[in-house]
């Protein structure tokens, strides 16, 4: 099997596993919906700036919860079994792809609930979609690697947050700015700098994950 096929099989396996139990994904979805409702009850109505910041903070915590278990749900024995079958690069890439998909579903549902409760017109829907898409991929690429690291370190959730937050903050700053531009419907030329930085950070983190994961995986 070449790497591409390995990745496809691993992503498929993750989706099937998730689909059979549905426990984790339902839990996370409920988490998102209830957080949105807590925010709704607390704020009632918000202006664009707070709307945007709240949206990303909800997504941030949902993604930490969703992704932190990506390496723990499988027992060490099964990981060893994968080790004999596939290359470590295929494992990390498949996890990043799978987590990006999960994050996409999450953010779409979060946005739907959020838009129903807090009515907020979006100035530039295409750019906002772009921001959400890039945001999902960014969260997935950073937190997948971090969850790999914290899983090796006994996996307590504090460690995941402590390690993950400083790394995600620069991304979050750029994302909040980009989606703020989209919400207010500014000219797209203004946001090009943010888009380039986001893409660059994503390319760098995914490349570094690919380079480093083999060292992390091998015990």
């Amino acid at each position: 099997m070449n790497t591409l096929q390995q990745i496809k099989t691993l992503v498929y396996k993750d989706i099937v596993l998730e689909w059979r139990s549905k426990y984790a994904i339902n839990g996370i979805l409920l988490y998102v919906v209830s957080t949105v409702f807590v925010c709704y009850q607390a704020f009632k109505s918000v202006d664009t700036f707070v709307w945007n910041a709240l949206f990303w903070i909800i997504l941030l915590f949902a993604s930490i919860n969703a992704i932190s278990r990506s390496f723990v749900q499988e027992s060490p024995h099964r990981q060893l079994y994968y080790h004999t079958l596939v290359s470590p690069r295929a494992v990390i890439l498949s996890k990043i792809i799978y987590n990006s998909l999960v994050m996409l579903v999450l953010s779409i549902i979060a946005y739907a609930v959020y838009a129903v409760t807090f009515k907020q017109p979006i100035g530039d829907p295409l750019l906002f979609t772009c921001a959400v898409l890039l945001g999902s991929i960014s969260f997935a690429s950073v937190f997948t690697m971090i969850s790999g690291i914290s899983a090796k370190a006994g996996n307590n959730s504090t460690l995941m947050a402590v390690l993950g937050f400083p790394v995600i903050i620069p991304l979050l700053i750029v994302l909040i700015k980009l989606s703020n531009n989209a919400l207010t419907g500014l000219d797209r030329g203004i946001s090009s700098g943010e888009l380039v930085v986001l893409l660059a950070i994503n390319v760098i983190t995914i490349t570094i994950s690919l380079l480093l994961f083999p060292y992390l995986w091998r015990d």
Binding site: I146, A153, L159, F165, V167, P170, V174, K177, L212, Y215
Partner: protein, 221 residues
């Protein structure tokens, strides 16, 4: 003597930069006035910090390819020393900000960026404490160190350039080089930068050698 020439050079450079920095002539500037002298002390801290972090990440990469404990010790001691320089950079910066910008912690991307970068390296130290087994600790913390470094570079050197910042050289502001520093200040500034980097490296090598000695002692017991 042949080996320690750079330590003496560093001491002489820092000492002369302190004397010349406090007594030497500076241009007459609006707002900044005499506080421009802080540029001799505030900026070298960040240069020293980034040098030490660079050393750390290089030795983390070396550790992953070689697996030698000494490389891991270099990486962790460079971070330990770098954090001290980061704290001094923040403190001198807060003193300066209090005078020129009116408050010690204005909402400035460069300031927040350096605070977050500090959190990143503190997280690195927390991660090290969370792991018991030495080999595993060295490997996993090396992975985190390399993973976090490019993000820190983005945080400290790219994001502030994109947004409005109070600092010179970002958000369309001119740099110190072409605005306020004249030819009298420049040699003192470069002497100070070089001197502090040398001192920083010296402190870090001392800490590293101490760790090596401790390790050796523990092995004999």
């Amino acid at each position: 003597m042949r080996k320690s020439w750079w330590k003496i050079l560093g001491l002489v450079m820092v000492a002369s930069a302190i004397v010349a920095g406090l007594l030497g002539p500076v241009p007459v500037l609006p707002i900044l006035h005499e506080t421009i002298r802080n540029v001799y002390f505030h900026v070298p801290m960040w240069f020293t910090m980034i040098t030490l972090y660079l050393v750390s990440v290089i030795y983390s990469i070396k550790y992953l390819s070689s697996g030698k404990t000494s490389h891991d010790l270099v990486a962790v001691e460079a971070v330990n020393t770098g954090i001290v320089f980061c704290a001094m950079g923040l403190l001198t910066g807060m003193l300066w900000a209090n005078i020129t910008w009116g408050e010690p912690w204005p909402n400035d991307p460069q300031l927040n960026g350096s605070a977050i970068a500090t959190l990143m390296y503190l997280a690195y130290l927390v991660l090290r404490n969370a792991l018991e087994e030495e080999q595993k600790r060295a490997k996993i913390s090396a992975v985190y160190n390399i993973f976090a470094f490019p993000v820190m570079v983005v945080l400290l050197y790219i994001l502030p350039k994109m947004t409005d910042s109070l600092h010179p050289g970002s958000g369309g502001n001119g740099t110190f080089r072409d605005l306020d520093m004249n030819s009298q200040m420049r040699p003192i500034f470069y002497t100070s930068v070089m001197g502090w980097i040398l001192i920083g490296v010296w402190i870090f090598t001392l800490r590293y050698r101490l760790r090596i000695l401790e390790n050796r002692k523990n092995q004999l017991d």
